[in-house]
């Protein structure tokens, strides 16, 4: 290791890192502090002598209580979880099979198919929701969780397929060939050898898909209308801003509770996640 001068380490490493960490975490801190700040402090003038914008002296859980009791937040949480889990499961299943096929099987137009799947991922949801709304109406699933469970895979499947295809390509194909000689069918080799080895890739595709659907806003906003059927991101902004009144405390409490599951999922699987994206398998 090269030993550098101390001030250089500070200038090029510690100071930028500190700025970055503070910059990243500050919004979360602000969210937390607002969520536990009593209304009296929240709506106090900035110029008031007692104003303390960066901390609070009388923390309260009142906003959380209100959120649970006076809004349909528990429903939103449940809806979001249900929709995210089911659409992730569907997308992973399709992505696994499609990714495997594109990475391993030789069939006509394989390359073109791979590229066109990727292109569909590039179409922005803000364009796609108009035709999708038509389809949702035709199938009469509007204002039900299925409206989202069926539309989220339109961007999740291409994503999962590409991530997993890339991962499968890093796995030496001899492993599979060996398994097939050892007595497995192609499908058997895929399930017993390739999938277990691809767990990091599958996990990171899953986490990605889960967070994408958890945070998704535009489809949820368009396809759901009843308050108790909404997801957290939509519910929080549409039900907690009434007219021009912002219920800051509840808003932030809702945002905080909504981001906890994602943070937990990430922190549990962060190591798999990194290997999944960088892809490394050694025979």
């Amino acid at each position: 290791m090269v030993i550098e001068r101390k001030w250089k380490t500070w200038v090029y490493f510690y100071i930028p890192l500190t700025v970055f960490v503070v910059g990243t975490l500050f919004p979360f801190y602000w969210m937390l502090i607002t969520a536990i700040r009593p209304d009296a402090e929240l709506y106090r003038s900035w110029r008031a002598a007692t104003n303390t914008p960066f901390w609070t002296l009388q923390p309260t859980l009142e906003h959380f209580r209100d959120l649970m009791a006076k809004t349909t937040f528990p429903h939103w949480l449940w809806n979001t979880l249900f929709i995210a889990v089911v659409s992730t499961a569907i997308s992973l299943f399709c992505g696994l099979l499609a990714g495997y096929a594109l990475a391993r099987l030789r069939f006509p137009m394989a390359g073109t198919l791979g590229t066109s799947i990727f292109v569909t991922y590039l179409v922005p949801p803000t364009l796609l929701f108009i035709p999708l709304a038509n389809i949702i109406r035709t199938f009469q699933v509007g204002d039900t969780p299925w409206a989202l469970i069926l539309t989220y895979p339109t961007f999740l499947i291409p994503f999962c397929t590409w991530l997993l295809m890339g991962y499968f390509k890093t796995i030496p194909k001899e492993l599979e060939e060996c398994a097939r000689i050892d007595g497995a069918t192609r499908f058997g080799a895929m399930v017993r050898i390739i999938f277990p080895i691809a767990v990091p890739g599958i996990l990171s595709a899953g986490i990605f898909a889960f967070t994408l659907s958890w945070n998704e806003f535009i489809y949820a906003l368009v396809f759901l209308s009843s308050p108790e059927k909404k997801t957290v991101p939509v519910g929080v902004v549409s039900e907690l801003i009434r007219g021009d009144i912002y219920f800051w405390g509840q808003l932030m409490a809702g945002a905080l509770l909504g981001s906890i599951p994602v943070a937990l999922v990430y922190s549990f699987f962060v190591e798999y996640y990194v290997t999944g994206l960088t892809g490394s398998v050694k025979g």
Binding site: L175, C178, I181, D182, G188
Partner: protein, 363 residues
């Protein structure tokens, strides 16, 4: 135990004709080595036997079954790959047991077979480890172990030693040979290393551009190569080739080129008569050249200038210049020739080879 037959075997990819009309009979219990430069079709041939590549045309049979349309798992073969292909998420034991588990062997039998194989290969202590905790040589042993527990009809080896360092390669080579003598199973072994081919094979197939060049026992290939390619491929350093003119003088045939004029050895005379006055390629192995002494007949001697001296300990390689040709001679370590010196060489007459200039076939 089984023989393997390949009849008019062909493999075509879109544009490439990788394997051309291969006919091969690998006898029961034989250790057959396919050797050739990369891209010669040897691996493709092996993979067709394994069932990992479709056969474009022709027929492969293992034992008395035609296996063309059988999936790999039903061909009763085992294969060892160059990169070992150990299942990284399984222990060594599970790696070796996998094939037996897939075939629904009883647990006791699996245990016994894995233990036996581990004992033969000296890897009993490694059974609980994962592949990534093993060295290259150990991984190779596990890969071989995984193949032998199955007691297959045929072993297929696809350059199994290429990833090992030189010293380990020599050691594993000996072990593989010993293993084959012990198990007496038909084996097909692919390599690009002619030393491996010569030392391991009961018979060796030399391939080039998808064609079989020659099939024979190692010493047969070395002593009587069918064409210039085989002559140059087998043996290290490779055979010296010099284009010479066949001339008739003093009631004998002479091979002449700038700086060399040697008599055509009697065993070749009759076959070279039709080439009188024409060019042919003469081939002499480095080990068949030696510093001339008084006892060497003058008609087999010529002078050369030393370019480079490569002392290898057990022998010395001399790079020499004769006219426009560069040749290599392998001489005794006691030889004291120096660079730029002229030296007189003699060739062993009955070890010279002659090849047709156009067809490159041995004359």
């Amino acid at each position: 135990m089984a023989q393997v037959m390949m009849k008019d075997l062909n493999k075509k990819y879109d544009e490439v004709h990788a394997v051309k009309d291969v006919n091969l009979h690998i006898r029961d219990k034989e250790f057959m080595v396919l050797v050739g430069p990369s891209g010669c079709g040897k691996s493709t041939t092996l993979r067709m036997v394994a069932g990992l590549e479709e056969i474009t045309s022709g027929e492969i049979s293992i034992g008395d079954r035609v296996v063309n349309d059988l999936p790999p798992k039903d061909r009763d073969i085992a294969m060892v790959f160059q990169n070992y292909a150990l299942y990284p998420h399984m222990t060594v034991y599970d790696n070796m047991a996998f094939g037996l588990k897939m075939r629904k062997f009883p647990k006791v039998e699996i245990q016994k077979r894995v233990q036996d194989a581990a004992e033969i290969l000296g890897i009993q202590e490694l059974l609980k480890r994962k592949p990534r905790q093993l060295s290259g040589g150990q991984r190779q042993r596990v890969a071989v172990g995984r193949a032998i527990v199955r007691h297959p009809q045929v072993f297929l080896f696809d350059e199994p030693l290429s990833n090992l360092d030189a010293k380990l390669r020599v050691q594993m080579r000996v072990e593989l040979k010993r293993l084959h003598e012990r198990l007496e199973t038909t084996a097909i072994y692919v390599t690009h290393d002619q030393v491996e081919a010569m030392t391991l094979g009961d018979r060796v197939v030399v391939m080039k551009d998808g064609w079989i060049q020659q099939v024979g026992e190692p010493l047969e290939l070395y002593g009587r190569p069918a064409n210039k390619f085989v002559a140059g491929f087998i043996g290290s350093p490779s055979m010296n080739f010099v284009d010479v003119k066949v001339a008739d003088a003093n009631g004998a045939l002479w091979a002449e080129t700038q700086g060399i004029r040697v008599k055509v050895p009697p065993i070749h005379t009759s076959r070279l008569v039709p080439y009188k006055g024409q060019q042919v390629t003469m081939g002499v192995r480095p080990e068949d050249l030696h510093p001339a002494s008084g006892s060497d007949p003058r008609e087999y001697c010529f002078d050369a200038v030393v370019d480079v001296v490569e002392p290898l300990g057990s022998e010395i390689l001399l790079d020499l210049r004769v006219g426009n040709n560069t040749i290599v001679a392998r001489v005794e370590p006691t030889n004291r020739v120096k660079v730029h010196e002229s030296t007189r060489l003699a060739l062993t007459p009955d070890r010279a080879h002659f090849f047709d200039l156009k067809t490159e076939l041995a004359i």
